[in-house]
């Protein structure tokens, strides 16, 4: 049986983000352990919350689903982390825009960007969080089949 469509979309996004100029092959699917120096600069891709609005009171046959996809860019620099993060953001935005149908999604739209940084480490460390919304449809009881 195929994976849930949310997994298919996440996997497609991970694949699409490979080979960017700054992050190269350092694209990780849903990591929970802290990234080490050999994994930086790198991307972490997550499929998080999903909103499934009720479209009718009667029996629903199709489900509209808005999936929150998060791409986190992790960097560690002696100086100038912001320029590197901005460069990665640019590369990710362009690549995602070119993959609007990733995993069968109707679209993958950027919703927000947030930056966290600290100097309380051996170097500057920072993370850019790019939150996307992926819209897709499945049939009731068949979350592995994209409509």
């Amino acid at each position: 049986m195929a994976d849930h469509v949310r997994s298919q979309i996440r996997a497609a996004l991970v694949a699409a983000l490979g080979g960017l100029a700054t992050t190269g092959t350092r694209v990780f699917d849903s990591p929970v352990d802290p990234l080490g120096d050999a994994q930086l600069p790198g991307l972490a891709v997550y499929a998080l919350a999903e909103e499934i609005p009720q479209v009718a009171i009667s029996q629903v046959r199709a489900m509209e689903r808005a999936l929150e996809l998060v791409v986190e860019a992790h960097v560690k620099h002696a100086t100038g982390y912001a320029a590197t993060l901005d460069g990665i953001i640019k590369e990710v935005e362009i690549r995602v825009a070119a993959n609007q149908g990733a995993g069968g999604a109707k679209y993958v739209q950027l919703r927000s960007i947030a930056i966290e940084a600290t100097g309380e480490a051996d170097k500057q460390v920072a993370v850019a969080r790019l939150a996307f919304e992926a819209l897709y449809y499945t049939a009731l009881g068949s979350p592995e089949v994209i409509l």
Binding site: V32, A44, H74, E120, D122, K123, V125, R129
Partner: protein
């Protein structure tokens, strides 16, 4: 009677202390630690360490920010000094 202490006795490179070169010219001794400290950024975080050097405050500038500290083969930049008020100071370091 004023409190007086010979800090050098606590900073013997033959025992627990580490020798370093402050600002490329001055040899000083201190306690160097570089312990693991995860940077809790993002969902996963990043692996990091926090290099610190505790030394006699009089051995370094009142504001050592931006000075260098050579420890072994690594030249750190001093991000700030944190005097403890007893005559010792803690230098917060950054790797090149």
């Amino acid at each position: 009677m004023a409190f007086s202490e010979e800090f050098g006795e606590f900073l013997d490179p033959q025992e627990f202390a580490t020798s370093a070169i402050y600002n490329a010219v001055t040899a000083i001794a201190g306690i160097f630690v570089n312990a693991y400290a995860e940077a809790a950024l993002g969902l996963a975080g990043l692996q990091a360490t926090v290099p610190l050097f505790v030394c006699v405050a009089a051995d370094v500038d009142a504001d050592p920010t931006g000075k260098t500290l050579l420890i072994g083969t690594t030249t750190y930049t001093v991000m700030r000094g944190e005097p403890d008020g007893t005559g010792m100071t803690r230098l917060v370091l950054r790797k090149p």
